[in-house]
């Protein structure tokens, strides 16, 4: 969804030394072939592992497939059932809540950390690495570690909180009010480092003279950030926001490990529901229908984001 950028071309100069038309055509064609050859490995992988499963899932969503028996065509029955299913709407609103909280927090925190860690200070590399580290560890493993820390009886975190006077008679992960914040926290903690690195790269690409000029004009630190740094980071902000939103709408791993969607479906996201319907209830057709609804939803939101940020795009 983010691949709509055009590759740079050099064939559109309008100067007097313009080559004759047939030659230009050949050159364009040759360049196109070269480009397609470079793209083809990725396209083949995308087609086999993304496009084909997507089309297959679209077909399955119109059947009652259960992985064992041959699929029977049921038309739009799955979709009709889905929109009347309270479990779907519960998972849908949980997903929206998760994305609406985690995406902005992750993006703002990543930006703040990047700005802070762009300065020189002793131990900077250590702090940067510490924040990035969770990203390269499997989310499943991280989730096991956090579930252990949050355990009400043997967890270190619960112990510290109880020392500070905060006592919950049950673990946060089984508490209906706290389970969602807990999995959101782990989601933010896991991905903020990666987005921070993208922002750091962005910060380093901003020419120093721009901020220098603003300083000479008498802009304060906040004004320099607000009117120079932030607008010049909008490419990164677009990338980070789109990626973060897509990732949060697909939240699954830490929820599967830490709460399994519980207590009583309070943390069940759409992907958790797809898993439950598919692999536990053996309703792959229905699960495929939910995944298509999710796909369309993600696509629409990404398009809106793209259009929103496109006007703010910057080039150096």
């Amino acid at each position: 969804m983010t691949t709509l950028h055009q590759a740079p071309t050099r064939g559109d100069s309008t100067g007097p030394a313009r080559p004759p038309a047939p030659r230009r055509m050949r050159q364009t064609t040759r360049r196109a072939i070269t480009a397609w050859l470079f793209l083809s490995p990725a396209l083949v992988v995308l087609a086999v592992f993304m496009l084909y499963p997507m089309i297959q899932a679209g077909y399955l969503s119109l059947t009652n497939y259960n992985l064992i028996r041959a699929a029977e065509w049921v038309g739009l029955d799955n979709y009709v059932e889905l929109f009347a299913d309270p479990a779907f709407w519960n998972a849908f609103w949980n997903t929206v809540l998760y994305a609406a909280v985690v995406t902005p927090i992750t993006v703002v925190l990543a930006l703040a950390l990047a700005v802070f860690l762009d300065r020189q200070f002793v131990g900077r590399a250590f702090v940067r690495t510490s924040i990035f580290l969770p990203f390269i560890v499997s989310l499943g493993i991280i989730a096991i570690a956090w579930a252990f820390l949050m355990d009400p009886n043997v967890g270190l975190l619960s112990y510290w909180l109880s020392q500070a006077g905060i006592v919950s008679s049950q673990g946060v992960l089984s508490d209906p009010d706290w389970a969602m914040p807990a999995v959101m926290f782990v989601g933010v903690w896991k991905s903020v480092g990666f987005f921070m690195v993208i922002y750091l790269a962005g910060l380093q690409s901003i020419p120093g003279e721009l901020r220098e000029a603003a300083r000479l004009d008498g802009a304060g630190a906040w004004q320099r950030f607000r009117h120079v740094t932030l607008p010049l980071l909008s490419n990164q902000t677009m990338l980070v926001s789109v990626m973060a939103l897509i990732a949060t709408l697909q939240a699954f791993d830490q929820i599967y490990v830490m709460t399994h969607g519980g207590p009583f479906f309070r943390t069940e996201t759409l992907v958790m529901l797809i898993y439950r319907e598919g692999f536990q209830e053996l309703r792959f057709g229905y699960g495929a229908a939910i995944s298509w609804v999710l796909l369309v939803f993600v696509f629409l939101l990404s398009m809106i984001q793209y259009l929103f940020f496109q006007r703010r795009q910057v080039r150096f």
């Binding site: 055009q6 008679s169 089984s174």
Partner: protein
């Protein structure tokens, strides 16, 4: 800065058509490849009694019972040279999520062990084949098996499994905690009311922060061997009727039991709320719960933790004194051919032979699947206790033969119980609504 917008119009269609062409080619190729693979599977309906057979046996005995299982398998492999059983031991969760995809492909297991309560769901979908001819063959001596273990894998009038084990639940109680609370360590509670009277002594909140340091009992309300469900039986209720046609969740007995236990747990803090099965085990292991009602697989862990525990039948309810029996059965995928199935039968017969069951019971602590072996098990005291006829005869399995059983239990009963324990409504309201959902599942 370079402006490329002038070229967009001319390039886009070209790009799109090529993309579509690539996609079509890739799709067709993939379909062709998968189509070819599908033709390899041909069902052989003739048994070849001389063929060398290797059977892949999937099961979830990851605990201290794993080595005992492997021992029986090794003994079987050594007892003859035609059939080799290869075990593939993985956590039950993993097994349940992998078995479908593996069985749909061609390199899946030949024998699958799973909780008998789950078999109807898979059998209903066509994953397994009926094994009734196993029980008809006199050579396999299946008359010696405990009837409840055999019946546990019935679905729609046919039997889809052969028992691996039958595990009954007994009450473990921590004698040291009883003594410390001023209770007689040789007199565990025998009725609900006796237990309720002990709760104020056994649930201890010394520092008064509202979170007890010790609980009277560890009751898990999700991802666990069923702990609350037998309470419903013992008040004359249940989840569904015996014929699997009617919900009983809102019956008088069920609501009486649920009100009693939700009140004890929520208001008197007899047990923490929100425990998974593993949490409950951990609580009892670390001496933070005085009682746990659970199966024989915990004996090893509790002994290793140095607990001074006693075993007794769980306290009786107002109507009955039934305990849960958890049966694990072995099934054969529908794809297996006759030779494979007959080879699996040889293994099932060995597993359930006197020799096989003696090895299994001694190594695992599970009661043997056949009563005539109990007296031969001498090196381990627990199989005789859990397999005592007074326990086995008073046990029943949860929702046997009901295809929607797993769904009812995991997606209706537990979430509703959690709501009640978290005070999200009264027991009567919540379970009356849940009962309608159960009925809807049964009517599907």
């Amino acid at each position: 800065m370079r402006n490329h917008h002038g070229t967009v119009g001319s390039r886009f269609p070209h790009r799109r058509s090529t993309l579509i062409a690539t996609a079509v080619v890739a799709t067709v190729t993939t379909l062709a490849v998968s189509g070819c693979a599908g033709q390899g599977a041909q069902q052989n309906t003739e048994n070849d009694p001389n063929a060398k057979v290797t059977l892949s046996f999937w099961n979830g005995f990851t605990g201290p019972d794993g080595p005992a299982l492997q021992q029986v398998v090794d003994d079987f492999n050594a007892s003859q040279d035609r059939i080799t059983v290869e075990t593939n031991i993985m956590p039950w969760d993993t097994l349940y999520s992998k078995v479908l995809t593996a069985a749909a492909g061609n390199d899946g297991p030949d024998i699958v062990a799973m909780s008998a309560g789950r078999i109807p769901q898979y059998a209903d979908q066509g994953l397994f084949q009926p094994l009734d001819d196993y029980y008809e063959n006199a050579d396999f001596d299946s008359d010696a098996l405990a009837q409840s273990a055999v019946d546990a894998s019935m679905f729609d009038g046919e039997n889809y499994g052969v028992p691996v084990n039958i595990a009954t639940m007994l009450m473990y109680y921590n004698k040291d905690l009883f003594t410390a609370a001023g209770l007689d360590p040789e007199k565990p509670p025998t009725t609900w009311d006796e237990f309720a009277a002990m709760v104020p002594k056994l649930t201890v909140d010394d520092n008064g922060d509202g979170k007890p340091e010790q609980y009277a009992i560890a009751l898990a309300d999700h991802e666990t061997v069923p702990m609350f469900q037998p309470f419903l039986w013992n008040a004359g209720g249940g989840l569904v009727s015996e014929d699997g046609k009617t919900s009983e969740l809102a019956s008088e007995g069920s609501l009486e039991a649920l009100n009693f236990w939700v009140d004890l747990v929520k208001d008197q803090k007899a047990s923490p709320v929100g425990l998974a099965g593993a949490d409950a085990d951990k609580l009892f292991t670390t001496g933070k719960a005085a009682i746990e009602i659970v199966g024989p697989w915990m004996t090893t862990g509790f002994e290793e933790a140095g607990l001074n525990f006693g075993l007794a039948p769980a306290f009786a309810g107002p109507a009955d004194n039934v305990t849960l029996a958890d049966v694990v059965s072995m099934s054969v995928p529908a794809k297996a051919d006759e030779t494979t199935k007959q080879a699996a039968y040889e293994f099932f017969a060995y597993w359930n032979s006197e020799e096989g069951q003696k090895t299994w019971a001694e190594g695992s602590g599970f009661p043997p699947t056949r009563a005539d072996v109990s007296s031969q098990v001498t090196s381990n005291p627990y199989p005789a206790i859990f397999g005592d006829s007074s326990v086995i005869d008073n046990s029943q399995t949860l929702m046997p033969g009901i295809a929607a059983g797993t769904t009812i239990n995991d997606t209706i009963f537990y979430p509703t119980l959690q709501k009640a324990l978290n005070g999200e409504g009264t027991v009567d309201e919540l379970f009356t609504a849940a009962s309608e959902q159960v009925q809807a599942e049964l009517d599907k």
